[in-house]
Amino acid sequence: MRETRLWSLHLLAIPFILVLLGMHLAIMHYAPVFYGMSVERAREYATMIERGKSIVQFILYILLLITGLYHGLYGLRGILRELPLTPTMIRVVDVGILLLGLAIFALGTYVTWWTFNAPLGG
C-alpha cells in the first residue's frame, strides 16, 4: 500500500511539472515570445530579483521544487532498487535519497526566500 501511494504521487506530480516547467521555460527561454523581452534581459540580475518578489512566482517555484524533486528522486530510487540489494542496502538507498531530496529542497527554498526578500537594485 505504501509503494502504491508513492507511485501514485509520482504520477500525480507529472501534470504539475508539465505546467510549472512549461511556465519556467516560457519565462527564462521564450521571453521574446511571451513577454516581448530578450532572453538576455530576462536573465539579468535585476530582472531576476524583481521577478522573484512576486508571491505567485514564489509559490509556483516552491511547488515546482517539490514536484520536480519528488518525481526525479523517486525515479532514481526505483532505478537503484532494481540492483540486487539486501534489505539493509535498500534502506540505505531510501534514506540517502530522502536526505539528498531534503537538502536540495532546503537549499532551493532558501534561495527562493532570499530572492523574495532581497533588496531591489542588488
Partner: protein
C-alpha cells in the same frame, strides 16, 4: 524449494538489467531513452538549484555565471537538456496514458494470431514521438539557435 522464486532483490541481471531488457522493440529503446534522459534531468535539476544559488553572492557572481552559460559549449549542453526534457515529457505522457489504461483496446479472447497491447497502442507511440520530434526541432531551434 523453488530457487527461481523471484524476491525483492533477486535481480539476476544485476547492473546489466538496468539497460538490457531483451526483445529490443521500439518501445524498449524508448524505455532506455526515458531512463537515461530521466537520470540526466534529475542530475541537472540538482546542479541547477546549486548553481542558481550563486545569486546570493551578488550581481558580479551572477553576471559571470550568465556569461559562462552564453558560451557555445553551454548552449549545446542547454540544447541537449532541452531535447532530453522534451523526450522525457512526451514519452512520459504516453506512459501515463498507458498506465491509466488508455489506447490499449478492449480485452479480447486470446485467439491466434495474438494481438498485443503494445501493438494496439503503437500508433499512439509513433504520434507522440512525431510530436516530440517537431517540438525538438521548432522549439529548440528557435530557442537556442536564432
Amino acid at each position: 524449494m523453488n530457487s527461481n522464486k523471484p524476491t525483492a532483490y533477486n535481480n539476476r541481471l544485476g547492473l546489466k538489467g538496468w539497460v538490457y531488457g531483451g526483445r529490443y522493440t521500439f518501445e524498449r529503446y524508448l524505455y532506455l531513452g526515458h531512463r537515461l534522459s530521466g537520470l540526466g534531468l534529475i542530475a541537472y535539476m540538482v546542479l541547477h538549484i546549486v548553481e542558481t544559488a550563486n545569486r546570493m553572492r551578488g550581481e558580479q557572481a551572477w553576471v559571470g555565471l550568465m556569461v559562462l552559460f552564453a558560451s557555445p559549449p553551454f548552449k549545446v549542453i542547454e540544447y541537449l537538456l532541452f531535447l532530453a526534457a522534451v523526450f522525457h515529457a512526451m514519452n512520459g505522457v504516453r506512459l501515463l496514458l498507458i498506465e491509466l489504461g488508455f489506447f490499449l483496446g478492449n480485452p479480447k479472447e486470446p485467439v491466434y494470431p495474438y494481438s498485443t497491447s503494445v501493438m494496439r497502442h503503437r500508433p499512439l507511440t509513433y504520434l507522440v514521438m512525431l510530436l516530440a520530434g517537431l517540438l525538438m526541432f521548432f522549439g529548440g531551434s528557435s530557442m537556442f539557435f536564432k
